[in-house]
């Protein structure tokens, strides 16, 4: 039976309009994989760019972080403890952008854990479009832990 990752989705500390995870395809101790479809109605398309909507790089980075870093972090934390008040923040990002992502496109993010120690999680992330072309890649890190622990 396919493992359900709903508990991870339910533990995500984001909501609309800043949730960039639709589905988790796979998570294990080494990494995570998930998808997101950028809604053509998203507000940022009105301004990025004028009459030429393209998904901003920071939003692609955020999507990579939510799927690749945070979903994985919750999975790794959740195996050890109940997820209560989660404290979370991005600490560094180094990204390269190779292909534009237009409104309505679905992307797939794949992450590989570099380390998760002392509440710092660091991953290599890659985002692919529906043609399986690499959209962006990089290294992201953040602090993630249970508050009031």
């Amino acid at each position: 039976m396919k493992e359900s990752y709903n508990w991870i989705l339910n533990s995500l500390p984001y909501t609309e309009p800043f949730l960039f995870v639709n589905e988790i395809l796979h998570v294990d101790d080494k990494g995570a994989e998930g998808t997101y479809r950028f809604s053509p109605d998203a507000d940022f398309y009105k301004g990025h760019f004028k009459n030429n909507p393209v998904t901003p790089g920071v939003i692609l980075t955020e999507c990579c972080a939510q799927i690749g870093l945070v979903c994985l972090g919750i999975y790794l934390l959740g195996k050890k403890s109940e997820i209560g008040n989660m404290a979370i923040g991005m600490s560094s990002s180094q990204m390269e952008f190779l292909q534009p992502v237009f409104p309505g496109e679905r992307v797939r993010v794949v992450s590989e854990l570099v380390y998760f120690r002392f509440q710092k999680i660091k991953c290599e992330v890659k985002m692919y479009n529906e043609d399986d072309k690499l959209v962006c890649k990089g290294v992201l890190a953040g602090m993630i832990g249970i508050a009031n622990e």
Binding site: S91, S92, Y115, R117, F118, Q119, K120, A141, G142, M143
Partner: protein, 84 residues
Amino acid sequence: MLKEEKYQKLKEIIKIYLPEDVAITDIEQESHFMNDLNINSANIVDIVLDVEDAFDIRLENEDMEKMQTVNDAMAIIDDKLAEK
């Protein structure tokens, strides 16, 4: 390994994570990583991971909590090296 040698090795690691407004000459044994050297918690983790590699030791969560100053780090390194 001499104390001075250990201290220099640690300083070389800390140097990498100093913010631009802090110089390597600002590092003193009494320096508090966060308050004096302006190093954030994410970079303190990097320092710990580099220290582990450089001294071939492994730190635990309680060591991390105790490691507030450069002196604390020196003491932890000494303890871990002695345990080996």
